[in-house]
């Protein structure tokens, strides 16, 4: 199978791989780059568990070819913040009880980051709208919305 080189800046570090024309960004991130924080919940763009930020926009990694990310910036949950430098969203997700099983969390936090980057003070409705591509089966979304709202207020401080 013919392969092509790709070079992608994942969470600030350039990474390279040889990929096929069919490989998705999800395949590349999980199987080749070991970015297991990018979850595979459906591989069809219906659940949002694989959300990453591709050059400032939140997208489904499963609906993006690896080659389409060539030369671009990709941010996953690990790029949002770390235990040493947590993002306000990470802090507030934990404190508000917005995490249950945690499987939607990586995509949800990444979507929320993209939302706040573009709209630092969203209303609750805008928050709900902004995460409507990310399914969560555990929380009923309440605490996720609260956590995002709280993080937006904290960022303002």
């Amino acid at each position: 199978m013919k392969t092509y080189p790709v070079e992608i800046k994942v969470n600030g570090e350039w990474q390279t791989a040889e990929v096929t024309a069919r490989d998705t960004l999800l395949d590349l991130l999980r199987d080749r780059f070991g970015a297991f924080e990018v979850k595979n919940g459906c591989a069809q763009g219906d659940c949002g568990a694989c959300t990453v930020i591709l050059d400032h926009k939140a997208v489904n990694a499963c609906l993006t070819l690896a080659l389409q990310a060539n030369g671009k910036n990709v941010t996953t949950l690990k790029g949002v913040g770390t235990p040493d430098h947590p993002h306000p969203l990470q802090q507030s997700f934990v404190e508000h009880g917005a995490i249950q099983c945690g499987f939607c969390t990586p995509g949800m936090v990444v979507s929320a980051k993209a939302l706040l980057d573009n709209n630092p003070e969203p209303t609750r409705n805008e928050i709900r709208e902004g995460i409507s591509g990310n399914l969560c089966r555990c929380t009923g979304y309440n605490k996720i919305v609260e956590a995002i709202e709280d993080a937006s207020l904290k960022r303002e401080e």
Binding site: A21, G45, A58, T64, G133
Partner: protein, 287 residues
């Protein structure tokens, strides 16, 4: 056959050269929101993918000389947020905002939504109501314009020939007397496939309808114009009796099917209902 090759053309002349070279064996990919799952499920296996997702020449929303043009690779999110569209064609912005979800809207493109030729293509009914045309780049570098109403030939089947590519959508800037309204019926409030939709654009001369454009989605093998409804409205004063007549006529004009999202009966009923509602809403009447 499996997909083995990928090319990312640098500009339109590259694109046109490649399309000619590989005609028939290649598929254009932009957002990939339809194509990638279809490739994974084995429904499609184009030999070559031509990636236009980053082609700046195909990504624009422009207004000039009384016409609005949208590049085929413009994302649905860009359309939903476009001041040009929000000001001039809110029915199109409304449809864009209700397509898929925020993540898919960041990838999905207008060209893809139309070229996929699904009856439930969310942007098609408002574009039909706006008298839009598609711009097609043909092998040899020629460009041809096709009215959107002639673009869809059948279920998942368009006017695009081998080696042709949809490059832009244009429509005349609606005049100030044109009033529009759009409704999509879905089974939930986000990420829902259209059950039925209606877009209307009415050019009004006082209470009289000078020109009417009415289009419907998910109620025929392709997105359709309701020509008989349009004819019925044009030149008439819009009143309750005329609205009732429109409802009767539209029911005869559409040909929905029953599927997991709704029955033929519901689609027929609700299409007529949202037709009436959208005409009233366009005219700022209480629904």
């Amino acid at each position: 056959m499996t997909t083995t090759e990928y090319i990312k053309p640098g500009d339109l002349s590259d694109l046109h050269y490649i399309m000619e070279e590989y005609k028939g064996r290649a598929t254009v990919i932009a957002g990939g929101t339809n194509l990638i799952p279809e490739m994974r499920n084995g429904e499609k296996a184009p030999e070559l993918l031509i990636d236009i997702s980053d082609m700046a020449a195909l990504s624009f929303i422009r207004e000039n000389n009384g016409s609005i043009a949208i590049g085929a690779a413009t994302t649905i999110a860009e359309m939903a947020a476009s001041p040009i569209l929000l000001d001039n064609s809110p029915i199109l912005a409304s449809a864009a905002k209700q397509l898929g979800n925020p993540l898919t809207r960041n990838r999905a493109t207008l060209g893809g939504n139309l070229a996929n030729a699904s009856p439930c293509a969310d942007t098609a009914p408002p574009l039909l109501a706006l008298d839009a045309s598609v711009e097609i780049l043909s092998p040899g570098g020629k460009t041809r314009q096709v009215p959107l109403s002639k673009f869809f030939h059948g279920y998942k089947f368009t006017d695009l020939g081998k080696g042709e590519i949809l490059t832009a959508i244009t429509f005349p800037k609606p005049n100030d007397s044109t009033k529009g309204s759009h409704t999509k019926i879905g089974l939930r409030n986000a990420a829902s496939i259209c059950v039925a939709s209606i877009a209307v654009a009415l050019d009004m001369d006082g209470k009289t309808c000078r020109k009417a454009r009415v289009a419907a989605g998910s109620v025929a093998p392709i997105p359709v114009r309701a020509y008989r409804v349009e004819k019925l409205l044009e030149g008439k004063e819009i009143n309750a009796a005329l609205l009732d007549e429109c409802m009767t006529v539209v029911k005869a004009e559409i040909s929905p099917i029953s599927d997991i999202r709704g029955s033929l009966e519901y689609r027929t009923y609700v299409t007529a209902m949202i037709l009436k509602r959208n005409i009233k809403r366009a005219l700022k009447q209480e629904i």
